[in-house]
Amino acid sequence: MLSVDLHHAFSGFTLDAQFEAPPGLTVLFGASGSGKTTVINAVAGLLMPDRGRIAVGDWMLLDTGRGVRLKPHRRRLGYIFQEARLFPHLSVKQNLKYGAWFAPKDAPREDMGRVVELLGIGPLLERRPGALSGGEKQRVAIGRALLSAPRLILADEPLSALDETRKAEILPYFERLRDEVDLPILYVSHSASEVARLATTVVVMEDGKVVRQGAAAEILGDPDVLPMGAREAGAVLTVTVKTHHADGLTELDAGGEPLFLPQIAQGPGHRVRVRIAAHDVILSRSRPEGLSALNILSGVVHQVHRGEGAVIVAIDTGAGRVLARITLRSAQALELATGVAVHAIVKTVSVASSDIGAVGG
């Protein structure tokens, strides 16, 4: 458990953030300039805040009230930076071993072979960072952080410098990190789809303050919390893979209701997280017929949130909370209000594979 309480004043910007990160992966979520990177740098010790208290369990990293200000190299963190920051004069193997060398001899440490296997970087070991692709560099950086025997993993927008293909390559490794490595992870992001796939807990930041924190599904399904704006809104459903059909579709069980998606990687019985973008959901008061869309989830309107230009409707369905982004005119025409029964139509092909992720445990 990581607990953070920070106060720091810059010229023209004040950071005032308190939150707790339970085990699992906690995403610090917010627009750029909201103070996410400041928080993570303060946890790493790269920035000394005016006042504050940071603790990992009973391991105190910072307590300005009692004069505790650990230097970065004494904090035992694995920090995965936005740009991999590998040491260019060392081989991949030497980079991986760098942190382990400085860790206390009795610290519980990851096995080098297991980490290399987990990240698929075996063939890269003898190379220099200059000869690696962006995605490969980032995988090595993850390994280097893991092997330093850390008590906490920090990641500052580790995917934002990569193109879509590379992002898709790295995301599963963070899922495995979350599910297979028993360390709290603090992960900074401004991408709703990364949050949807990775987050156990979400801490939403705005103008240097924490505005909400809670479980990922709860935060993403709340139309009042849209740090990236209504365009990025989308709820997360946790569903179970049922069967892969011969026509390329995968049938999933969403709380008893069938959900059809383009073929996904996980086999039957696996639980996956699916992000349903709000702009891909159509609403209907009566159950539609003769429609090409395969997924029709019936439910009840939980809340109608009027934003600028559009309305976000939160619907409680048998599959879970779904958000729909529709025009104000449509909302009025359908007379949508809390308690009204509606059908949410999700077009199968609109769910991108990058919005589907594994669920651990």
Binding site: K71, H73, Y79, R85, F87, F102, G130
Partner: protein, 231 residues
């Protein structure tokens, strides 16, 4: 080949090499430290330190030599103290090395400072988050990445030390076998009739050493860029 230079000329070349070697070897640690301080730290008096380091580059060498004589002479404040523990600079080859070291110091610090500044602070931060103390970060990240720059700076300083004349002759005079380095020897040869051919030979040696040093330091400087770029 060996009899191409006479014994007097050989003595000057050998002395110059010894003086230049010790001038660089003794000042290198201080040069690296000074370069690091100027590149990475902010402290009161930083500009003053920068000025003092560069002073020998802009002062007339005779002035630097005279200041050394005043400070490190047998009666000088520092020289007097050192004299008591048996270290004498005045009119010895060690004094020539001190003068050469001081004159070459700005060039050395400049080259090393530039290569330290080329190392991304973000890499040093990464080292710190991985558990390396500031000293270890310096030894395992900053220093290896600056190594070509340090070698380049040392070679440049070596060449400068080989050719130092003004400060040396003012501080330690021109004593054959003791303080008569190549430039002092050339000067002395030119003062006597028939000395031109000896002087010319030493000029040739000087030009060769200087050109070689410049070439090697250029090549190494390029390698700094490659190394920092991760190639």
């Amino acid at each position: 080949m060996l009899d191409w230079l006479g014994p007097e000329e050989w003595a000057a070349v050998a002395l110059s090499l010894r003086v230049a070697f010790w001038a660089v070897a003794a000042s290198l640690p201080l040069g690296i430290f000074t370069a690091y301080a100027l590149a990475r730290w902010s402290f009161p008096g930083k500009q003053l330190l920068n000025g003092i380091v560069h002073l020998p580059l802009i002062l007339p060498p005779v002035v630097t030599g005279y200041m050394l004589l005043l400070t490190f002479g047998v009666k000088g404040p520092v020289g007097g103290l050192l004299n008591e523990i048996g270290i004498v600079f005045a009119f010895r080859w060690t004094g020539a090395a001190l003068a050469a070291g001081v004159m070459a110091f700005p060039l050395m610090v400049r080259a090393i400072r530039l290569s330290i500044e080329a190392v991304d602070v973000k890499l040093e931060q990464a080292g710190a988050t991985l558990g390396a103390s500031p000293l270890w970060v310096f030894l395992t990240v900053t220093l290896p990445m600056t190594l070509p720059g340090i070698v380049a700076g040392a070679i440049l300083a070596f060449a400068k030390a080989m050719g130092e004349f003004g400060a040396t002759i003012t501080f330690v005079s021109n004593i054959p076998g003791q303080t008569r380095t190549i430039p002092s020897a050339i000067y002395a040869f030119l003062q006597v009739p028939g000395g031109e051919s000896s002087a010319l030979k030493l000029v040739l040696v000087s030009v060769t050493v200087a050109m070689a040093a410049l070439l090697i330091s250029e090549i190494l400087a390029r390698r700094v860029a490659d190394r920092v770029g991760g190639k």
